[in-house]
Symmetry: C2
Subunit: 423 residues, 2 copies
C-alpha cells in the first residue's frame, strides 16, 4: 500500500488537533450490517410519520410557494416557525417570544454556535459525567477544557457544580457555561428532578454561570409528562437548545436556540458567517406540518412506540445480564446506561459483541477524560422490540464469554471508573 504523507500537515489550525475521528464512526460501519442488532445508534424511528400526508403537503407547498420557500431566508430563520416553536416550548412551560429564537441546522449547530460565541481556547465548560458525545466533539473543536460534574439517579448534582467551579477557579481557569441534558440524558437516561432544577439554577445564578440546556428528548417522556424546562424558571441564566429531530424528523436539520436577547444577537451574527441562513425549505416544510397536522398526537404515538421498545430492552437486560451489572431505567428518551461488573472493559468487549452480532457504544465516548470504561450506552430507539430483546441476549452471551475467559486466564483490566449511576 502506498504511504502518503499529508502535504498540508503543517498548515492546519491548532484546533484540528482536538478534532479526532470518533471511535463511534468506525463502529457504525459494523452496526449498520444487516445481521447486526444495533443498540449503538441514536436514530429516531420515524416510519410512523404519516408519509402520504407529508408528501402531499410538501409537494403542494412547493407548487404554491416554491420561489419563496426555496430561496434564501434570514440568518435568524423564518418568523412564523419561530412563533410556532414558542408554542412547542410551551409544552415545557417556557414562555418566550419568537424574536428570541434562532433556527439552526440541527441542534448540533446550535451547540456549535453557542460554543463559538462563548469559548476561547482553554476556557472551561462544565459538563455532566457522562455527556453527549457530539457536544464533547464540538467543545474539543473550540479547544475548550471540559470539566465533568458528577450525576446520580436524579441527574446532575448541584453541589458538585459548586465544587467543580471552585476547583476550576483555584487552578486559574474560567468556567464559561455548564452543559446539561436534563431530560432523559444522552447517554445516561436520567431525568433531572424538579427540585434539582431549581437548586441547579440557584447555584448557577450565585456563581454567574450560564446554563446550556440541551433538550432533544423533553417531549418523549414515557412514564412522565413533559417537565418544566430549566428555561421555564429563568430567562436570563439559560440558553436553551431544541430540535425537531426526535419529535418530527432529523433529515430536515432544523433545531433552534432560545437565548437572552444579547446572546441571541451574537448567535445570529455567528449563523450569518456559518451558513448565511439555516435551511429555508426545511423551515417551511416543518411550519406547514405543525400548522396542519396534530403534532401533539404524533408525539404521543412516538412515545407509545418508544415505550414498547424500552420495555423490551429492560426485560432483555433483566433476563440476560450477569450478576453485578447495573443499568439505568429511563423514564423517557432513547438510552439505557449500563455499568458492567468490576474488571470488565466495554471497549475491549466490542469485538466480541460484534462477533455475536450486536453493537453498542462504549462508555468512554461520553467522557472527555477517559473514564467510563465499564460503561456502555444501549439505545432502544430504532430496532424492533423483538430485535432489541434479541440484542440484549446476544450481548449477554458476549459478556458471559468474556467472563469465562477472564476466569480462565485472569484477564482483569483495572481502570479508573466514575461512580455508578444507580438504576
Amino acid at each position: 500500500m502506498e504511504t502518503r504523507i499529508d502535504p498540508y500537515v503543517d498548515t492546519y489550525a491548532t484546533r484540528t488537533m482536538g478534532m479526532k475521528a470518533s471511535a463511534i464512526r468506525a463502529l457504525f460501519a459494523v452496526a449498520n450490517r444487516p445481521e447486526v442488532v444495533s443498540l449503538a445508534g441514536g436514530m429516531p424511528n420515524i416510519a410512523d410519520l404519516p408519509l402520504d400526508v407529508i408528501g402531499t403537503m410538501i409537494g403542494d407547498l412547493i407548487k404554491a410557494r416554491g420561489p419563496q420557500i426555496m430561496n434564501y431566508g434570514s440568518a435568524q430563520g423564518d418568523d412564523r416557525i419561530r412563533e410556532q416553536i414558542c408554542e412547542v416550548m410551551r409544552e415545557e412551560q417556557i414562555e418566550a417570544h419568537g424574536d428570541d429564537v434562532i433556527i439552526t441546522c440541527g441542534s448540533q449547530q446550535g451547540l456549535d454556535l453557542v460554543t463559538r460565541t462563548f469559548i476561547d481556547p482553554g476556557d472551561v465548560i462544565l459538563a455532566e459525567a457522562p455527556s453527549y458525545v457530539g457536544a464533547l466533539g464540538t467543545f474539543a473543536a473550540y479547544q475548550a477544557r471540559v470539566v465533568h460534574v458528577a450525576m446520580d439517579e436524579e441527574g446532575i448534582i448541584p453541589e458538585a457544580v459548586r465544587e467543580a467551579t471552585a476547583a476550576v477557579q483555584a487552578s486559574g481557569g474560567r468556567v464559561k457555561f455548564l452543559y446539561t441534558i436534563p431530560n432523559f440524558n444522552n447517554p445516561a437516561g436520567t431525568l433531572l428532578s424538579v427540585a434539582r432544577r431549581q437548586e441547579l439554577l440557584a447555584v448557577a445564578k450565585e456563581l454567574g454561570i450560564l446554563l446550556v440546556e440541551d433538550n432533544p428528548y423533553g417531549l418523549l417522556g414515557i412514564d412522565v409528562p413533559p417537565q418544566p424546562a430549566l428555561r421555564s424558571f429563568d430567562a436570563e441564566q439559560v440558553v436553551y437548545l431544541g430540535s425537531f429531530s426526535k419529535t418530527f424528523a432529523p433529515g430536515f436539520r432544523t433545531g433552534w436556540v432560545l437565548a437572552p436577547p444579547a446572546v441571541l444577537k451574537k448567535l445570529v451574527l455567528a449563523q450569518e458567517s456559518a451558513t448565511l441562513c439555516p435551511p429555508t425549505f426545511s423551515q417551511f416544510a416543518i411550519s406547514e406540518y405543525l400548522s396542519t397536522w396534530d403534532w401533539r398526537a404524533q408525539i404521543a404515538s412516538f412515545r407509545d412506540m418508544y415505550r414498547i421498545r424500552r420495555d423490551a430492552m429492560l426485560r432483555g437486560l433483566d433476563d440476560h445480564m450477569p450478576a453485578g451489572a447495573t443499568w439505568t431505567h429511563p423514564k423517557g428518551g432513547f438510552f439505557v446506561w449500563m455499568t458492567l461488573p468490576e474488571g470488565f472493559d466495554a471497549d475491549q468487549l466490542m469485538g466480541r459483541a460484534t462477533s455475536h452480532r450486536v453493537a453498542f457504544v462504549p462508555g468512554t465516548a461520553f467522557y472527555a477524560d477517559g473514564l467510563g470504561s465499564r460503561n456502555m450506552r444501549l439505545s432502544y430507539c430504532f430496532p424492533t422490540p423483538e430485535a432489541i430483546y434479541e440484542g440484549t441476549r446476544r450481548l449477554g452471551e458476549a459478556i458471559k464469554e468474556e467472563a469465562e475467559l477472564r476466569a480462565t486466564f485472569g484477564l482483569t483490566i483495572p481502570r479508573t471508573q466514575p461512580e455508578e449511576i444507580a438504576p
Copy 2:
C-alpha cells in the same frame, strides 16, 4: 427607552469582536420595501424552475422513501449526490471522485469549514480586492488577517500574489490560503482568464499556497461557455467550493467542497462537530432532480434569463450614469461593479439613493481594509429587466443630485481608493 447593559459582555469569546452586524443587513430592510428597486441583493431568480414537476417529484420521494431521506445521514453527505456532483463539475473539466467531495449547508458553510480547518487567529488569508462580503465575514469570525490582492479586468493578478506574500512574510505573517472567485466575481463581475489561471496556479505552487476556489456562478456564463476550473488543472493545490444555490435553489442549503483527501478528512470531522450531517432531505431532493430533470437545459434557461437582465442593466448604466463613472461588463454571473467619479462616496450616496427608491451595496462592504468608498455593487439577478433599467435611472438621478450638491457646497470627501477595474 430602557437601556440595558449586556450582562454577558465579559463572557463572549474574543472572536465575537470580529463578528459585526454588516451594514448590508440594515440595508436589506430598506431594499425589500416594495417601492424600492433593489440592485442590492444576490438572490437568484428561481421562479423559472418547473415547480409542478419538482413538487410532485419531492412529494413522491417522501411517500416512497420518507424514513430514509428524512433521517440522519453521514457527515460527508450521501454517496449518490456526491457522484452526481462530480458529473456537474465535469462541465468545468474537473475530474474528481465522489469520495473527495463533502456536502455542506450551502457553500457558505464550506467556507466556514475550510477556514476552521486552516486558520489560527492572526493567520493571513490573501483575498481578491474586492472580495465576497460573506467570505470576509467568515474570515473575521476565525480572526484571520485578510490581505487583499489587486485585480484587473482579467481577474486577480498573479504577480500581485507574489508581492503580497513577500510582504506578509517580511512582516512575520503566515499565508494559509488564497481566496478567489474566478468566475464572474462577486462583487467585481470579472472573469479570470485561462492564461491567468495557469499563472496563478504556478505562483501558488511555487509559494506553497493553497487556493480556495469559490465557484457559485461558473455555469452561469452569459457570453462564454463554462471555463476550466482552477481545480481542473491541479488536484493538490486547490480546494474547490461549489453550490446548487444559483443553478437550482438556495433554500435547500446544499453546497459542497472538493478537496485533496487529507484535507477532506479534516473537513468531515469539522462537519461532524458543526452539524452532525448536512441537510439529508435536501440532498435526496436535489439528487432526484438531477437524475430526472434536464438540469443542463434548466441552467441554459437561467443563463438566457440573466442575459436579458444584464443587458437591461448595462443599457441603463449607459443611458443614466454621469461622465467619469466606470463599470465592469460581466460575461456572466449576477453583478456589475461600478466606480463613481472622483470625490463621490458610495456609503454617503445610500441615503439619497433610498429616497430615490433604489438600493445597492456600497463597495466598502467588499474590502477588509476600508477601501472601496467610490465603488458599488449592482446586481441584476432578481428584479425584472424593466425594474433594473428603472433602477439605474433612479440611481443616475441620485448621483446627479449629489453631484449638484457637491458643486454648490463643495462637499468632496477624499478617501483612499484602490485601482479601478476597467470595463
